[in-house]
């Protein structure tokens, strides 16, 4: 069957492109790190330019969730740390805020992932919502330490809710390939 395929220049080009399709688990760590950096770039540079100060969306958290479910623990930890560290050295956030938050998050995933069946939507949705909420609450907790006089404004709450919603939706797009009935179980055994 293979010999029937036309392996011309176009075919080679298409195959090479398929290998570079952005996803959290390419199978090669350097490629995964490159994609994590692309996601950080999108979140911190591209989206704020397009949407202004209201465009603070969280794309990194669902990306890390998929890595935590799909990758081996060491690889997933490296990816989460790269994302967190890049985010921290770009912003004026207190050092360690994302390193701690993401490290805790992925370690919890390593414990629970064998117990769940990831072919269904529910575990994915719950994971994305809880992870995004965890990051939002952790940020808010640290922020409340820094602010002497800080109140939860309605716009802040709306913005955070939107952040959780977008993170969940983006995550569902990322994990659609494992939600088919004939899909392989994404957790490495």
């Amino acid at each position: 069957m293979d010999s029937l395929l036309r392996r011309d220049g176009w075919w080679t080009w298409k195959e090479a492109l398929r290998g570079w399709r952005p996803r959290p688990n390419t199978g090669a760590l350097p490629k995964d790190i490159a994609f994590v950096l692309v996601i950080v770039f999108f979140q911190t540079t591209v989206l704020p330019t397009i949407f202004g100060s209201g465009g603070v969306f969280d794309l990194i958290t669902p990306w890390i969730v998929v890595s935590a479910v799909r990758q081996r623990p060491t690889q997933a930890t490296i990816l989460a740390m790269v994302a967190a560290f890049t985010l921290e050295t770009k912003l004026a956030v207190p050092r360690g805020i994302y390193l701690c938050a993401y490290w805790i998050m992925i370690n919890i995933f390593f414990q629970i992932r064998p117990a769940l069946s990831w072919r269904y939507r529910t575990p994915w949705i719950v994971s994305y919502v809880l992870s995004a909420l965890w990051i939002v609450l952790f940020e808010t907790f640290v922020l409340s330490f820094l602010h002497d006089t800080w109140t939860f404004s309605p716009s802040f709450i709306v913005q955070q809710a939107l952040k959780v919603f977008v993170a969940t939706m983006f995550g569902m797009v990322l994990s659609r390939e494992w939600m088919r009935i004939d899909a392989e179980e994404p957790v490495p055994q």
């Binding site: 950096l37 540079t45 100060s53 004026a92 390193l99 602010h147 002497d148």
Partner: protein, 297 residues
């Protein structure tokens, strides 16, 4: 056996991760302050892409604003011509006053406010996160920008350089909750420490200190590398605290942080401060005063 060992290992790691915030966040709540290649490795990789993205969006918006959306240009032009004629007459008056002040300062043997050189830099990208306020500029270590240098615009103080890459630098903005600056109330010459608070800044003073709405705040020039007299903002709100001792004053910065395009990095940073930072580390600036005192700072 090996499987259960791995299980135990990852459980230990989980416990360690749960304890990590106590270690990280109890020691400091300040951002990464650095100019080392190691810390900024990923930022150095991403910066060229950021620069290209920013240049292209700037080009597109420039074409739109300068060649297509010209509906208000004539109106603005007329207004600006009028403003220029008023400003010209004011400038003559100011020049005369400046000469007089210079004469008096030299007569009394006062030091000059600002003698150093400056670096003009463009803002790259937009403020990424509204809660943690920072700004990236297009000049870095190769242009002479160092950690701790003050950043201003024509309107007033913008912030301080906290990270300096090869071709870029990150500026910690005045309005960030982690930013502190020593100030003077221009009218009453009262000193205090101003702290960022979202889109404004706040300062806590003794209730007996006389403050009025509209009072101007300037830098005291005592610490932080900012020369004396740089405008910061004006008082917009005064709230008396329930302890009957203090008052919280809200200050609106002169600089509109949403509209910054170019900034000036002042190279006349505090030489003494630079020496301390070389010895005590770059994050010395951000340590609380009590810590620095204990360290002999």
């Amino acid at each position: 056996m090996a499987r259960s060992k791995a299980k135990i290992f990852w459980r230990v790691i989980l416990v360690a991760s749960l304890l990590s915030p106590f270690v990280f966040l109890s020691s400091t709540l300040h951002p990464w302050v650095s100019s080392s290649h190691g810390t900024l490795f990923f930022q150095e990789i991403l910066y060229p892409f950021e620069y290209v993205w920013d240049s292209s969006t700037r080009l597109i918006s420039g074409v739109w604003n300068h060649y297509i959306d010209l509906t208000r240009v004539s109106e603005t032009n007329t207004r600006l011509v009028k403003e220029i004629s008023v400003l010209k007459s004011q400038q003559l008056d100011y020049e005369e006053k400046q000469n007089e002040i210079q004469r008096l300062r030299s007569l009394f043997g006062f030091a000059d406010h600002f003698k150093g050189t400056h670096i003009v830099a463009e803002m790259v990208g937009s403020q990424a996160y509204p809660s943690f306020k920072t700004m990236r500029i297009s000049k870095g270590k190769s242009d002479g920008v160092q950690v701790g240098m003050p950043v201003v615009t024509a309107e007033g103080v913008v912030g301080r350089v906290i990270r300096s890459g090869l071709k870029f630098a990150d500026v910690h903005l005045l309005i960030d909750t982690n930013f502190n600056i020593d100030i003077l109330l221009q009218r009453t010459r009262i000193r205090g420490v101003l702290k960022g608070a979202d889109n404004d800044a706040v300062i806590k003073l003794n209730r007996r200190v006389e403050v009025r709405i509209g009072d101007t705040l300037v830098t005291s020039g005592i610490i932080g590398g900012f020369s004396k007299g740089l405008p910061i903002g004006k008082v917009i709100r005064i709230a008396y605290e329930s302890d009957n001792i203090s008052q919280t004053i809200t200050v609106e910065p002169w600089v509109n942080f949403d509209r910054i395009e170019e900034v000036i990095v002042l190279e006349n940073h505090d030489k003494e401060l630079q020496k301390i930072m070389e010895t005590a580390g770059e994050d010395w600036l951000n340590k609380p005063f009590s810590d620095n005192e204990q360290a002999g700072g």
